[in-house]
Symmetry: C2
Subunit: 440 residues, 2 copies
């Protein structure tokens, strides 16, 4: 009996179909098949068989990744865990949740709200991406400027290793130093070390108040300077987003909004919790200094409209063409230089670049719009990576390395760090069957 | 030329002397010698030689550890890095510091204050312990209920590996997902994977206001219930400490205070930042419900006296005898049960246990006082570990495993997780020369 026959005997197996993600990176041909277990034992059975047969396995959630981490090609088995989709428990006293990896991120957040809590990490994809995928890429989002990224929300994990063994890392307590921090090691490892089948997640108190300020600026560098000034003045926004003029225009075109009428760049800031009013007042004052238009309103509906527009930035760009999605992160003080560098790169290569940023983290998404992925687009992409490293930053703040950034990871990390990463990988997956060719 | 001669040719070497820490755990005999390099190159040279000769190396900072992680015995070389003690840089705009491992934790905090910033993790040992040791144990402290433990403050590390290679992990940016999170893997690894020779640390804004409330209770379980109620009501103190009656009495005796006159247990809470007043008012109200005495004062001097007394808890106990120091952490909802369990264990074995807790984290320090480490003391210690696991907790919240808790780590983690930890260790230190026998 061949591998696929043995597999069909233990878990549901769907016929092969293209397994891509939202990065635009394609695999080389069709994968072998798609295994879709809906229990932890099913995942273990798949990995035991794959291990025995030496078949490479590409773990997959909702397929919303932006770096090619879930792309599968010829000879590879897709392991789709989106069927493990239960919220197992919400503990309102200890403020934690236990979930399976296929739970949608926004769904968990809504379930927590019933208890006066929330799941803080909020990638723009929260409605369509899964917790498992968020853990695989250590996803960020708008609120992480105040509440931290996915890693800060993960207390413990259930992980199936390449050979089918199941381990439980971490704990239900807030602190703990018993043994190596395997939990943090699995977070952000893009499915290369194990398959997450359960997660114990920290929830945060739902803030009583959230207030919003918005300001428009003549130029994106003026907007970036204002954001850096907020850091310098030790302000603590819960959201601090910056959109450039090109992005405002494309959102307007796709969503029927009129953002670009306000100015050449837009900053959206929020403050929450008991100090929300004092904080947003101080933030609005800093923003107003160079702004050409500003608004500070407690009007939740108008704030929600602004944030919705922000979340639609990428889908709006993709509506009118293809997009090379970058995700560089620089020290916060270098944000204005980063935006200036992006403009220079666009001019040099004659390409269109839309830029928006989680400005409070220095995390910038320059999106190169294109029709065909020609040499100019690729060179612009490479220059953006180089810009990030030149400014003391990283080639990926929250999307992961996947297939898209492997060469650049090598540049950023250097050969010694890469060799240590490879040694850790080999220790956990000696056959190298888990998501081969991804991340490093 | 033998190992020691070669060593003396490249770095300062001190004659062997007892290398213990504050845990009371002793090594078996004198170590080989103490290498005391004061440069990164010196550390590399020591590890290259140790590797070549297969000599086990015990990295060491100030020796203030509480679990035996820096204890060295016969045939082992002590690698004392406390001579690498420079604050290399404080970047006030990006709010980060670059330091060498021998910098005292409180010294960095004071240096940051000049820029309106602070280094948030504040173990009780902050005046005498070093950043390197804090990183090795992922140290906690009083403020971490709001600001997180050492791991949350470490952005990047310079680490010398067992073979002398130097790697740089992490980054200066707030976010980054390029490659496996080696930074988090090294934090809390107790010198078993590499020797930290540099750290890039996140600083936090110095809060404008810090307000303090204190309350006394009839019993420690009533005090613990009040603390759990704060969690349930989603309060966010920046400090939440609980001391039992035995601890209050011993502090009074050692420091000349009169804490025990207030009641059978004391809770000290702080709130900071722009919402400090609203937060401390709400906290004081919850505490007052069951309290026999309470005080809410903006008097910084009285607050500092209370916190100083708290920091002197362990030194006060140690002044009157020896101490078996435990560091269990339980889900916050189980805190009252944990204290009740501690009392039961003290009664069962006829031993004296002093208890104090970072109550906001569920992190409890039951200290067994003794003159000779007899069977009753050991059994009480074991029962405390078992209590932690029974309540869904961990055997160490912030002190580390060291020599003291190895057997209990095995119970907590289980054989599969231990085997994964051993595989990671073998990948980074194939000869097993780094701090052998510690942690796992």
């Amino acid at each position: 009996m061949g591998f696929l026959d043995e597999l069909r005997a233990v878990v549901p197996v769907l016929p092969a179909s293209a397994a891509g993600d939202r990065s635009g990176v394609a695999g080389d041909g069709l994968p072998l098949a798609i295994a879709r277990p809906d229990t932890v034992d099913g995942v273990r059975a798949v990995l035991r068989l794959a291990s025995a047969h030496g078949v490479p396995v590409v773990p997959r959630g909702a397929g919303t990744g932006l770096a090619g981490g879930a792309v599968a090609g010829r000879g590879e088995l897709v392991l789709d865990v989106s069927g493990l989709d239960r919220i197992v428990e919400i503990d309102p006293v200890d403020a934690l949740a236990v979930v399976e990896p296929g739970v949608r991120t926004a769904e968990l957040d809504r379930a927590a709200q019933a208890f006066g809590l929330r799941y803080a990490p909020d990638p723009a994809s929260a409605e369509i991406s899964t917790i498992g995928g968020n853990i695989a890429t250590n996803a960020g989002g708008m609120r992480c400027v105040k509440y931290g990224v996915t890693r800060e929300a993960v207390l413990g994990l259930d992980v199936v290793l390449a050979d089918g063994r199941l381990i439980r890392t971490g704990r239900r307590t807030l602190k703990g130093v018993a043994g190596l921090d395997l939990t943090s090691l699995f977070v952000g490892s893009e499915g290369t070390l194990g398959v997450v089948v359960g997660a114990t997640l920290r929830l945060r108190p739902l803030p009583g108040r959230t207030l919003t300020a918005a300001a428009a600026f003549d130029s994106v560098t003026a907007a970036a300077r204002a954001c850096a000034e907020l850091t310098r003045q030790r302000r603590e926004p819960s959201v601090l987003e910056l959109l450039d003029g090109a992005t405002l225009e494309v959102i307007d075109r796709a969503q029927g909004t009129d953002l670009a009428a306000r100015g050449g760049a837009l900053v959206i800031a929020q403050a929450d919790g008991p100090a929300a009013e004092e904080e947003i007042t101080a933030i609005a004052k800093v923003l107003a200094e160079e702004a050409t238009w500003s608004e500070w309103s407690g009007d939740a509906e108008s704030a929600e409209r602004l944030l919705f527009a922000r979340r639609m930035a990428l889908p709006s760009i993709e509506r009118f063409g293809r997009a090379l999605i970058e995700d560089i992160c620089v020290p916060r003080s270098r944000l204005a230089e980063a935006f200036a560098g992006v403009s220079r790169i666009a001019a040099t290569h004659g390409v269109r670049i839309y830029s928006f940023a989680h400005a409070g983290d220095g995390n910038l998404h320059p999106i190169v719009g294109y029709e065909t992925l020609d040499a100019a687009v690729r060179r612009a992409g490479d220059d953006l990576f180089a810009l990030a490293l030149d400014l003391g930053g990283t080639v990926t703040g929250e999307h992961g390395v996947g297939l898209l950034k492997r060469d650049w990871l090598a540049r950023e990390a250097g050969p010694e760090v890469l060799s240590v990463q490879a040694a850790v990988k080999a220790a956990l997956d000696p056959q190298g069957i888990l998501n081969p060719g991804k991340a490093f």
